[in-house]
């Protein structure tokens, strides 16, 4: 049997509480990190991702506390991201019990950080998160300098955006992923900013293109609204893992139900 496709619930955490954001804005409280981690783990989640959006000087203490609690409670792997800017930040998270750290804006601004983290903890600990926005390839300049992908809606290129989607960088996501892999990224978490919060399905073209560009696993994120979307991203999107938040948070589609569906559709899935 081949390697199973992974289902990864994502928990956005603000001041130690899980929240759900739509298009990276308007947080809405959804529960306690440890309780939700336990529930998802019992439900058959393959892995968990915590993205910390806390803006506070006590952020490090808050994070250490719930990361330790989560680590004591579950025995499946989990990743923590949000504001990790140095090896020291990552060490704090990993020594509190997380298995991987995810870096995003900090990696774009200081690509060498990826190498430092990979050297310190091994590349399997380093998840490079990339937030991406589609841009139509209209001008001759973008056609010459960017990887243009033909989509049903016309030619586009994929731009890396930072600071939670607020800052366009002009960087081509495919070029950045290739570079980040060389620097030591062990996995990519690719979030479509166009799809995030829409429940409209993943950006399949984005996921597939990145997956074909690099030789490390890809976690697709942004847009999951129903089980069919996960099927699409595993097959057409060539993702190794699918991340989702709201479809699991409010129990619309419990994990066993999603996994049953995927199994019936012929996707290799770990069932308990």
């Amino acid at each position: 049997m081949p390697l199973a496709k992974r289902i990864i619930p994502c928990l956005d955490v603000d001041h130690g509480q899980v929240v759900k954001c739509i298009n990276f804005q308007n947080p809405k409280s959804a529960g306690d990190p440890t309780e939700m981690a336990k529930r998802y783990s019992d439900d058959g989640a393959d892995e968990l991702v915590f993205l910390d959006i806390t803006a506070s000087s006590e952020k490090r203490d808050i994070m250490r506390k719930y990361v330790q609690e989560v680590a004591k409670t579950i025995n499946i792997p989990f990743t923590v991201g949000g504001g990790i800017r140095s090896v020291a930040d990552a060490r704090l998270i990993l020594c509190s019990g997380a298995d991987k750290v995810s870096i995003n804006t900090a990696a774009v601004e200081n690509p060498h950080l990826i190498t430092e983290l990979a050297d310190a903890f091994g590349r399997q600990c380093v998840v490079c998160a990339i937030d991406v926005k589609r841009n139509p390839t209209t001008t001759a300049t973008s056609a010459n300098t960017k990887n243009t992908i033909n989509t049903p809606k016309g030619p586009v290129w994929f731009e890396v955006v930072t600071y939670g989607g607020r800052k366009p960088t002009g960087i081509d996501a495919l070029t950045w992923a290739t570079e980040a892999e060389k620097l030591g990224a062990g996995e990519f978490l690719i979030t479509s900013m166009d799809k995030d919060g829409t429940k409209d399905g993943y950006d399949l073209e984005l996921t597939r293109n990145i997956s074909e560009h690099v030789n490390v696993p890809i976690i697709a994120s942004g847009g999951a609204g129903e089980p069919k979307h996960l099927y699409d991203v595993f097959t057409e999107g060539k993702a190794d893992a699918a991340l989702a938040a709201s479809i699991f948070h409010y129990n619309n589609y419990p994990i066993p139900k999603v996994k049953n569906y995927l199994h019936k559709m012929g996707v290799t899935i770990r069932q308990q």
Binding site: M1, P2, L3, A4, K5, R6, S41, D46, E47, Q68, A71, K72, N75, I76, P77, L94, C95, S96, G97, A98, D99, A120, F121, G122, R123, Q124, C125, G186, E187, N215, V216, P217, D240, A241, R270, Q272
Partner: protein, 202 residues
């Protein structure tokens, strides 16, 4: 109560292994010195870091581990900890613990994505106490780029397929090793660690 001594290579996450072992009813000690290991009822070599870099940390306790292995102390190697049981590794220079003959090899990055990351199944090759209650095709969690290739096929307890078939667990007398992470493998992983705990108190 039996105690497991976890040897600390100085990097990464020992906490999850410590927590998981404690869930089985064992007490744990984190060890960095020869003295700590000498007194151990059982030893766990966890799975973090790089082969060559870890050998440096292992050098002062190499003899102690050999002595304990010969005395019959249960030893469990996880991921890199298992790889260190062998002689050499394609990850870098240096001689491992050489408890077993064989080389640690790179997974074929030309045909599959490396690292091999996620849940994959066990094909059981021989009965061992470590895997009691573990059914054929049970899913366990892997994160690795290299795998052990033992010279002696009799030590192979399970195999797993990822681009090729590789040894995913070994068992020989009091020496056990898993290429996957039982401490991250949900209920199946806890069962395996419980089995290890049973072996210790036996």
């Amino acid at each position: 109560m039996a105690n497991t001594t976890i040897f600390d290579y100085g990097a990464g996450n020992l906490l999850s292994l410590k927590t998981a072992l404690e869930k089985t009813g064992l007490t744990t000690t984190i060890a960095t010195t020869k003295e700590d290991l000498t007194q151990a009822d059982a030893i766990a070599l966890p799975g973090v870091g790089n082969f060559t870099a870890s050998l440096e940390k292992l050098a002062p306790v190499k003899e102690t581990i050999h002595t304990k292995a010969t005395q019959g102390t249960p030893i469990l190697g996880i991921c890199l900890g298992l790889q260190l049981f062998f002689q050499t590794s394609q990850e870098g220079p240096g001689e491992g613990l050489a408890l077993f003959k064989g080389e640690v090899k790179q997974l074929p990055a030309t045909t599959v994505k490396v690292p091999h990351m996620g849940w994959n199944t066990l094909s059981i090759k021989k009965p061992t106490e470590l895997l009691e209650g573990i059914a054929e095709d049970t899913y366990v969690y892997f994160v690795h780029s290299l795998y052990p290739d033992p010279k002696d096929p009799n030590i192979v307890a399970t195999q797993t397929y990822y681009g090729q078939t590789f040894t995913s667990a070994i068992a020989q007398k009091n020496i056990y090793g898993t290429q996957f992470h039982p401490e991250k493998s949900g209920e199946a992983g806890i069962q395996i660690l419980k089995n290890f705990a049973k072996i210790i108190v036996r």
